[in-house]
């Protein structure tokens, strides 16, 4: 087991390094961070620009700049944004907001996908199966921002009038200047989270439920299930103890591979609900050409995705011995 984890780590570390090169090249060529300074009227004296280039290290060759950046990055120094704000605390604060949605939506989507997929497989070719299949295809084909906007513009008002007071919010991740007891704060977070999470979960659930259905069908058709039934075990016990447990394993990998896409979906969903999360930060970084924000954004996301895949790999090996010894 340990050697398996070590082997995986040995793959993950070069991958993160390569990804850092890609990220750096991508951002380094994304325009001139001093464009704003150079374009000012009246013109800024060239000495000032040169001095600024020197402090930013822009006069050095690309590999040297990469080395400096990477050295600082691994020590946790992500530099300052164009406006002179420390990037690291900013990024963490935004990351927490977005991860709240990503984690909750992923959990919800997994529960929905397992439920729908297993039910579809057990009741194959019945109206239940067809209904879930259609829903799966529908959400697979729906843009996440359109679904989110539908929920926001048409669902929120109905839901609030149903309760007679504001329970779901459609703007922001939390009420500004939120204070009060923990319970009060949690309720407020929940009220803001509910619609974006549902939108993101429904979109992610679609592909996973199709996959879960296929795996469950695969397992149900295997010999050991027939044996379990033949030796007289009750159907429900065979389904839960024998079939379901094995049918859950492959989903782990699929969820891990898709986590980057879920993150991307969260970035878009955030935009619909005007959250100040990673999505807003990315758009800000792109529109203001903020090199340090973009570098930190891409790098942290990429580490997050690689780590998640690593955890999934290990989890898969724990669950399925064939992988460990294979």
């Amino acid at each position: 087991m340990l050697s398996f984890i070590v082997r995986r780590l040995l793959i993950a570390i070069p991958l993160i390094l390569l990804s850092s090169v890609l990220v750096f090249l991508l951002v380094a060529n994304s325009g001139d961070p001093l464009a704003d300074l150079k374009g000012r009227n009246p013109p800024v004296p060239p000495q000032v620009i040169q001095a600024r280039e020197h402090t930013l290290g822009l006069d050095k060759p690309l590999p040297a700049r990469y080395a400096t950046w990477l050295g600082n990055f691994v020590q946790g120094d992500m530099g300052e944004s164009n406006k002179g704000i420390e990037v690291r605390p900013l990024l963490w604060q935004r990351m927490k907001v977005t991860l709240r949605m990503v984690v909750l939506a992923s959990i919800l989507a997994i529960i929905l996908a397992v439920g729908a997929g297993v039910l579809s497989a057990v009741k194959q070719y019945t109206p239940t199966d067809y209904a879930f299949t259609f829903l799966g295809f529908l959400f697979l084909s729906m843009p996440v921002f359109w679904l989110a906007a539908l929920l926001k513009e048409y669902g929120a008002i109905r839901l609030n009038s149903l309760f007679g007071k504001q329970v779901v919010y459609t703007v922001g991740a939390e009420t500004p200047n939120l204070t009060g007891s923990l319970g009060h704060r949690l309720a407020d977070w929940g009220g803001h989270l509910i619609l974006p999470t549902i939108a993101l979960a429904l979109i992610s659930f679609a592909a996973w439920s199709r996959y879960q259905r296929a795996t469950m069908l695969d397992v149900l058709g295997s010999d050991y299930i027939r044996l379990a039934r033949a030796k007289g075990l009750p159907r429900s016990r065979v389904m839960v103890r024998h079939a379901l447990r094995n049918a859950l394993i492959p989903l782990v990998t699929v969820v891990a591979i898709d986590i980057g896409a879920v993150f991307g979906g969260a970035v878009i969903t955030e935009r619909v609900f005007s959250w100040q999360g990673m999505g807003a930060l990315l758009v800000q970084g792109v529109t203001t050409n903020d090199v340090n924000i973009l570098l930190a954004w891409l790098m942290v996301t990429s580490v997050f995705v690689v780590l998640f895949n690593l955890i999934a790999d290990v989890l898969y090996a724990v669950l399925d011995p064939r992988i460990r010894y294979g």
Partner: protein, 333 residues
């Protein structure tokens, strides 16, 4: 529709994937069969021999939902590609009716400036469909070549190409697109640019599928036979091995169409894809959303078009998957 004809099985000779009509033919599963010498039948056969393509088409035609989807999809694609020319308004025309709800004059209503919504949706759909089709073709090509090279040569070529594939997957493609769009701001509004970048990110899945097929078939006897006959590497790869992956490649190409259309519209929704004065479905939804309660038609129609295109192509993909391999139960991952 009940099909009483004998099902094709692995022991029956199937179409020669290499297409060069040699005696040795390989079936879908790479099993070699010597073609049975023709025996004069003692009775009139009612069973005709069909080629692989004919069988796939027959099976696809039996899938009613997929055929219906194909008709709708082709219609939507044709209308979106050329429909803008025949409609009386252009997407940039400004009429004297502001914010009018759908009517005979303006089937999808008008926006607050007086643009005819139908003309704008047609224009947006044209851009989205162009991007999606381009991505499907280009990324399939890239993916097939990379997957073929990795699966055929194995060793360090495989390791390098697969790590490269992993690399592409580490960063959400929407973020790469966003950064690139800013880099090449003047080109970013161009659908061709958006399609090109999307293609460069969307090939990973097809590459994995093709690699998998190659890895499982490269040791088979028909490959050995081809090599013994002096076939070059590229001939073995593209004439003998690749045709075995045709089914999965086509199915994945259809999925790519839907992924591309969803990503392109998302990018435009964020304001980083196709930009004004041109328009796209994502951009239309983004502006329509601001008045979703007072002018819902501006918000509904572009979204419905996206769902129709993506849904029909997904159903087509599903039908094709069944058609290429009726025993296959695997679904999209």
């Amino acid at each position: 529709m009940a099909d009483t004809r004998p099902r094709p099985s692995a022991t029956q000779p199937a179409a020669d994937p290499a297409g060069d009509g040699q005696d040795l033919v390989s079936t879908e599963h790479g099993v070699q069969v010597h073609e049975v010498p023709t025996i004069t039948p003692d009775r009139e056969f009612t069973v005709k021999r069909r080629s692989q393509t004919q069988m796939v088409i027959r099976r696809f035609m039996a899938h009613k939902l997929a055929v219906g989807s194909l008709v709708v999809f082709v219609l939507v694609v044709i209308i979106s590609l050329v429909g803008g020319r025949f409609w009386k308004y252009s997407y940039s025309d400004i009429t004297d009716q502001f914010s009018s709800p759908p009517s005979l004059e303006h089937p999808m209503g008008t926006d607050d400036i007086g643009h005819d919504s139908l003309a704008q949706v047609l224009r947006g759909a044209q851009k989205s469909v162009q991007v999606a089709l381009m991505v499907a073709v280009l990324s399939t090509l890239i993916g097939a070549i990379i997957g073929a090279l990795a699966g055929y040569y194995r060793g360090w070529v495989d390791a390098a190409l697969m790590r490269f594939t992993d690399l592409i997957l580490t960063i959400p493609s929407i973020a790469i697109l966003a950064v690139l769009a800013a880099t090449l701001a003047d080109k970013a509004g161009n659908w061709f640019f958006v399609g090109l970048v999307l293609s460069l990110l969307a090939w990973t899945y097809i590459a994995r599928v093709v690699r998998g097929t190659f890895l499982s078939l490269r040791e088979k006897e028909f490959v050995e036979a081809a090599r013994a006959l002096g076939a070059s590497d590229s001939r073995i790869m593209f004439r003998h091995l690749l045709p075995n992956a045709t089914g999965s490649i086509i199915v994945n190409a259809t999925i790519t169409v839907s992924v591309a259309i969803l990503t392109e519209t998302a990018l435009s929704y964020l304001g980083l894809g196709i930009k004004a004065p041109d328009t796209s479905l994502g951009l239309l939804i983004s502006t329509g959303q601001q008045a979703a309660t007072t002018r819902p038609w501006l918000f509904y129609f572009p979204g419905i078009i996206i769902v129709i295109v993506a849904l029909t192509i997904n159903f087509i993909g599903d039908g094709l998957r069944d058609a290429f391999d009726p025993t296959q139960t695997r679904v999209r991952a």
